[in-house]
């Protein structure tokens, strides 16, 4: 498991690779939250394109980051193409509150729309 960060149109993009299970989530949580606080970024994109396995520990990781980002007044979007991971995510009904996109560009656009709605524009 590895996590790297970059920015795309002012959104913090978190690229996770490898396997997300209970063992991996503690390190992921710490590193992502530290980056979020240091960058004071409003919006986050969790890029799961290179995740090869995820169980329900990943659901907790996603919901936890969503709550933190919302606490800063921002929004969260997911980038995920793998059908098995999408299935795990949908079991928890995450797609009702978090947009699941096929690529980062689409995620950026969905966050733009969500931010306008949040701001009441």
């Amino acid at each position: 498991m590895d996590v790297t960060f970059d920015f795309f149109k002012d959104n913090l993009v978190v690229h996770i690779s490898g396997e997300i299970d209970h063992h991996a989530t503690e390190v992921l949580r710490t590193r992502i939250d530290k980056k979020l606080i240091s960058e004071k970024s409003v919006n986050m994109i969790l890029d799961l394109s290179d995740v090869s396995f995820m169980d329900s520990s990943g659901i907790g990781l996603i919901i936890g980051r969503f709550k933190n980002v919302r606490g800063f007044g921002g929004n969260l979007a997911l980038v995920c193409k793998d059908n098995h991971i999408k299935r795990i995510v949908s079991l928890a009904g995450i797609e009702k509150i978090i947009e699941i996109c096929n690529d980062i560009e689409t995620a950026v656009n969905s966050l733009k729309i969500k931010n306008k709605k949040t701001a009441g524009l």
């Binding site: 329900s56 520990s57 919901i63 928890a92």
Partner: protein, 146 residues
């Protein structure tokens, strides 16, 4: 039905062994060549059961987890057993979104995931004795080959 192969492994309740358990099951299943989706379903269910034993069964204590697999012509049965503290109320524990560890960002979806991805799931637990999860799955891809 007579099984065609079986195996069992015992490992420590360390979170590093969640991946180990998944790899062991994948390697055992290689002999029947299931589809990627079937393999992913089984790996995920195993991961959930082992994680439950580590977090809820043993918590801050350490102990052993036994995983036993029985392979049939077109199905697998997997038992995952711990000697941890046991589940006081199985019905409550199996309710979607129920978790005793929200502070650890647990979502209470473990049993729901196991039930969804496998064909059958049973949980036997006794307070202070431990928990045994038995789950099975038929391989539709192999049924077509027979």
């Amino acid at each position: 039905m007579q099984n065609i192969n079986e195996m069992s492994v015992i490992f420590s309740s360390k979170s590093e062994n969640e991946a180990f358990a998944r790899i062991v099951v994948s390697a055992f299943l290689a002999q029947i060549d299931p589809t990627v989706n079937e393999l992913n379903d089984i790996k995920t269910a195993v991961s959930e059961a082992v994680t439950n034993s580590i977090i809820h069964g043993y918590g801050n204590d350490s102990g052993q987890i036994k995983m036993r697999c029985e392979l049939f012509l077109d199905a697998i049965t997997i038992e995952i057993e711990d000697s941890g503290k046991g589940i006081e109320n199985i019905v409550e524990a199996m309710t979607p979104s129920f978790t005793s560890c929200p502070e650890m960002e647990r979502t209470g979806m473990g049993f729901t995931v196991m039930e969804t991805l496998m064909d059958s799931l049973s949980v036997d637990s006794k307070k202070g004795v431990g928990t045994k999860v038995v789950m099975s799955k038929k391989f539709d891809s192999l049924k077509e080959c027979k």
